[in-house]
């Protein structure tokens, strides 16, 4: 490939998305840093990637809206090139017990965590199919395989994402496109900092590693799956959780 591959990471202004965007940049990709609410943070990620010698761009993308996804992809296509590596990382989580869980919150969780990756993948596929090469990495969660009281929407959406990953892998595997998922365990990010002491303690006790993970440790696996060496890894749902789900 004469020109550097273009990667898009959704929800990349912080946490795992940010770490993934920086990891892809270090791999030599031109990276689109997708953000929805924090443009400044996204700009910082871009600045860091550029300082590391990469070409990067911040792009507003709200995975709940088809038009936003279409605009974002259009912008990336014009400024960097067609997206061949897509990291569906944008995620939403709000805990609550079913008996009192709001419908809107349920819908929101599904929209961001499951429908969003579907919409983004659909938008990315034509270019990948044409190139007979592509990488889609979905950031699921240990919650895709382990239930948690108060997280029915979250776990259901992540389990859905894991199965979406497998089925899509079967659809496009024959075209040099791989679709995989990573399942982070408890990683210290903005999403998990709202968890209570009690929950953190419980996760810690259940994690053989005896500590939480870092965004960089998850990003390392995402980067591997996004690269050329992982061409034979397809439809895999990879736990990156310090042994939590073992």
């Amino acid at each position: 490939m004469a020109e550097a591959t273009v990667g898009l990471v959704t929800g990349a202004s912080r946490g795992i998305g940010r770490a993934a965007a920086l990891a892809l940049a270090r791999m030599g990709l031109r990276v689109a840093v997708g953000y929805r609410s924090d443009a400044d943070a996204a700009d910082e990620v871009v600045a860091k990637a550029v300082a590391d010698g990469a070409e990067a761009l911040a792009v507003f993308i709200d995975v709940q809206r088809e038009e936003s996804i279409d605009e974002a992809f259009g912008q990336v296509e014009r400024e960097l090139g067609p997206v061949r590596v897509l990291v569906n990382n944008a995620g939403f989580s709000k805990d609550g017990l079913v008996a009192k869980y709001g419908t809107a919150t349920w819908d929101n969780t599904m929209d961001v965590n499951l429908r969003g990756p579907f919409l983004c993948s659909r938008r990315a596929l034509p270019a990948m199919l044409k190139a007979r090469w592509g990488r889609i990495v979905n950031v699921a969660s240990v919650a895709a395989i382990k239930g948690n009281a108060g997280q029915t929407a979250y776990t259901a959406s992540k389990a859905g994402l894991a199965m979406f990953t497998r089925s899509l892998a079967r659809e496009v595997g024959g075209r040099g496109i791989t679709v995989n998922a990573v399942c982070p365990g408890f990683v210290e990010t903005k999403m998990t900092e709202v968890q209570s002491e009690e929950i953190r303690r419980r996760y810690l006790d259940l994690t053989p590693a005896g500590r939480f993970g870092t965004p960089e440790e998850v990003a390392a696996v995402i980067a591997f799956l996004a690269g050329g060496e992982a061409a034979y890894v397809n439809g895999a749902v990879v736990a990156v959780d310090g042994g939590l789900s073992a």
Binding site: P126, L129, K130, E171, V172, G174, R175
Partner: protein, 83 residues
Amino acid sequence: MDMNELQTKVCQILAENLSVPQDQVTPQARFQEDLDADSLDLVEAVLALEEEFGVTIPEEEMEGVRTVGQAIQLVADKLGVAA
């Protein structure tokens, strides 16, 4: 563009996308039985036609298309090209 040009272009794109010799892509040819196209081949062919002719072919419209001739007609209708 007239129907002849359209037909030639559509057949060319289909032949490329389905990896079959162009002489096999006749209006009577059935995608599945004659051209060995699976569902992904068809999706790719439709994407290519959409891109080439600047049209949108939604999923529902793809369902009835079993032959090359039907695909040509579908594109012709969208472009307002008369037979």
